[in-house]
């Protein structure tokens, strides 16, 4: 019986040729050599070597240690490269060239696949923002007056964006116990997760010129799962009046795999009905394509599912976030990324943070490894997701995972 080809995937494999996310890998024999790769099943195809072997005009663009040159090449190149990759992994005549260039995932190291330019994080789930408002401002309106008029966001720290699998050191900082007159210092006692979707900008824009809703796909290359680790005790003490800073800046984990938007065409979905008319630059009611993505996220701690946040419930879309972020003339750079904000649905089990799942620690969740109000050292948090793909096949997003280690 002949050996099975890595290209002979099980029917419905969510990392089949309809998916083809991009990453950057190295092998044990050449650990210093980073290469652009494309995931197919449980293997990664050396994209630069494949392009060279098959005489692709994009060989130089793919023989790079980072996604950035491909990101900067623009939407036509993204489409052409994806078409070529699809052919390489599906046309039987290419197998002799392609099969030797496939590496089992278990045998490679995955790296941060792009150089991060600016990192912006939004706050786009109405359910999340409402829960947070109820927890922190129990006597006031849960949503601030601006919330339904603009996608609230802020800049995060680009230099501490780390690839999935990187250990996360518990941050220390100031917190103010309610009963104390002054703050105390120490390792965070309310270390939390935020289940988010990140969007990666490829094509830059010009300073002074906004990017309209309709140009979203000309600028955004793809999306990925993101964990916006949050120290709630540090954040609560510092964030008035200028927003989150050290409560967030110690680490943001991103998946090693970027899913191109084209793989998610069947997952586009309309966002929830809007409660207020939007200003023209945010009004997506006449756009050709629905602004949402029907992504089904699973949050697991030490392998146990604790939440299943539905991305389709997000009030603000990524296209609206991009239009808002640039409406003041701020320019985009290749490698800019922006996070959706915590994804929380209307149901209790759909909440994308422990802050919400345990109601600020008051109602701990039960795991086989013990009760959790917030994260303990050694806890490993993993987000996975799938979306509807073509012909009823699922498209999986690459996981994002990270384990908490004690403060140094």
């Amino acid at each position: 019986m002949p050996e099975q080809s890595p290209l002979d995937l099980a029917e419905g494999d969510p990392f089949g040729p309809h998916n083809l996310p991009y990453g950057v890998f190295s092998t044990a024999s050449e650990p210093e050599r980073r290469r652009l790769g494309v995931r197919i099943g449980d293997h990664v195809l050396d994209a630069g070597a494949a392009a060279h072997a098959l005489g692709s005009p994009y060989a130089a663009l793919l023989a790079q240690p980072s996604l950035n040159p491909l990101l900067a090449a623009g939407r036509t190149a993204w489409r052409d490269v994806r078409r070529a990759l699809t052919a390489w992994v599906t046309v039987p005549a290419h197998r002799p060239d392609i099969e030797p260039l496939l590496h089992p995932l278990a045998e490679v190291t995955l790296h941060l696949p792009y150089e991060v330019a600016d990192y912006v994080d939004f706050y786009a789930s109405e359910h999340h923002a409402t829960n947070v408002g109820r927890i922190f401002r129990p006597d006031g309106e849960p949503l601030t007056p601006n919330w339904k008029h603009l996608p609230i966001g802020y800049h995060g720290r680009s230099g501490t964006v780390v690839v999935s699998g990187t250990e996360v050191t518990r941050p220390s900082g100031q917190r103010k116990p309610p009963a104390e007159p002054t703050p105390v210092f120490g390792p965070s006692i309310k270390l939390d997760i935020e289940a988010e979707v990140g969007f990666l900008v490829g094509t830059p824009s010009t300073l002074g010129t906004p990017v309209p809703l309709a140009d979203f796909r000309d600028h955004v290359f793809g999306l990925f799962l993101l964990n916006d680790w949050s120290a709630r005790d540090i954040q609560a003490w510092e964030y008035v009046p200028l927003g989150p800073f050290l409560g967030k800046s110690f680490a943001t984990s991103v998946s090693a795999w970027v899913t191109p938007l084209e793989a998610l065409d069947a997952a586009r979905t309309a966002p929830p009905a809007r409660d207020f008319p939007l200003l023209p630059y945010l009004d997506d009611s006449a756009e050709d394509e629905p602004g949402g993505f029907d992504l089904h996220i699973t949050v697991a701690i030490n392998g146990e599912t604790v939440a299943e946040p539905p991305f389709s419930t997000m009030y603000w879309t990524a296209a609206q976030q991009l239009a808002h972020m640039t409406v003041n003339g701020a320019s985009l750079r290749t490698g800019d990324l922006f996070g959706s904000g915590t994804v929380s649905g209307p149901e209790t089990h759909q909440r994308g943070s422990l802050l919400e799942l345990t109601w600020n620690g008051q109602e701990p969740i039960e795991l086989t490894t013990g009760k959790r109000a917030f994260l303990e050292d050694g806890d490993e948090v993993t987000f996975t997701a799938w979306a509807p793909g073509p012909d009823g096949v699922k498209v999986a997003l690459g996981e994002v995972t990270g384990r908490i280690t004690p403060t140094h």
Copy 2:
């Protein structure tokens, strides 16, 4: 009579050999070739060419189109390079080699001299924060409870940091007139300045490991004037609860010249007395070197002085800001910059923003070009500064200037 050498400066020239700020320039004959330069008087020395001509071991580091390699080389290299430069511009025997490598400032183009990694902005003037609190929260305490316990800061947009001289397009955005039920959209009607000092990180740090107060000079290469342009109407509507975003992200102007910390040794000064004991990681009472800098800033609009903010009055020092920014384990990268926050002194004419100078537009200032509540299209804003140098000579900082152009 022999031609005057550009190195024969007037006595007390604040850009003399005791100063030697770094920049990046190009010439009209080779506009695409960016070169590292050092300012001396009204000339810029081609530092790479000088190092090559004089056989310096740092020739490769200085023959670069950006300051980043020098920044990354660390404190010993910074000291050695500065010593060499000082010798090249002062020792008469070097004149035949050096003089041909001096370009009149009027004949070169200055560029952003480094690649910005992360940009953080602080809020470190007690006078500024108190004024802002009184204007926006007239019924509450002007300072939030955390203000004297930690240096409040937030991340800004790195991709829109522009070099002095770059025109600034008036941003559009949402603002909420008090009498209206919903926001309106349009060009900002409260475009403002913030007179700040920026600090430039050279030596990176390790993720998970804080940078203590005492290591400030191992990581920070120099400082420069910075204008944190602010659209007050956009900012006021958006900033609760996650802080400033589009009210700031359209542009941040920085001087083309970075002054090395060593040029400011005579300007070190103790910060104001602290009203509360500080947590150990912020307590600078036992540091060898005083944490402040005695910088005298002048703010001019269309050439008329409107304010003279004294940097010596800042409550939080740059070393405290660096220690705070990293105490949660966040790492530093070469090219990180952080702004002090608006510099305002206790006196009315020492306020570093129009928000304060005109009390949110209620008390316009009088210029020969007319009254100003906030900036008008065509206005040009320039910050200059000097500090005490060795032997009573002044050290000038490179100016930062920018002109407002109408919304596109």
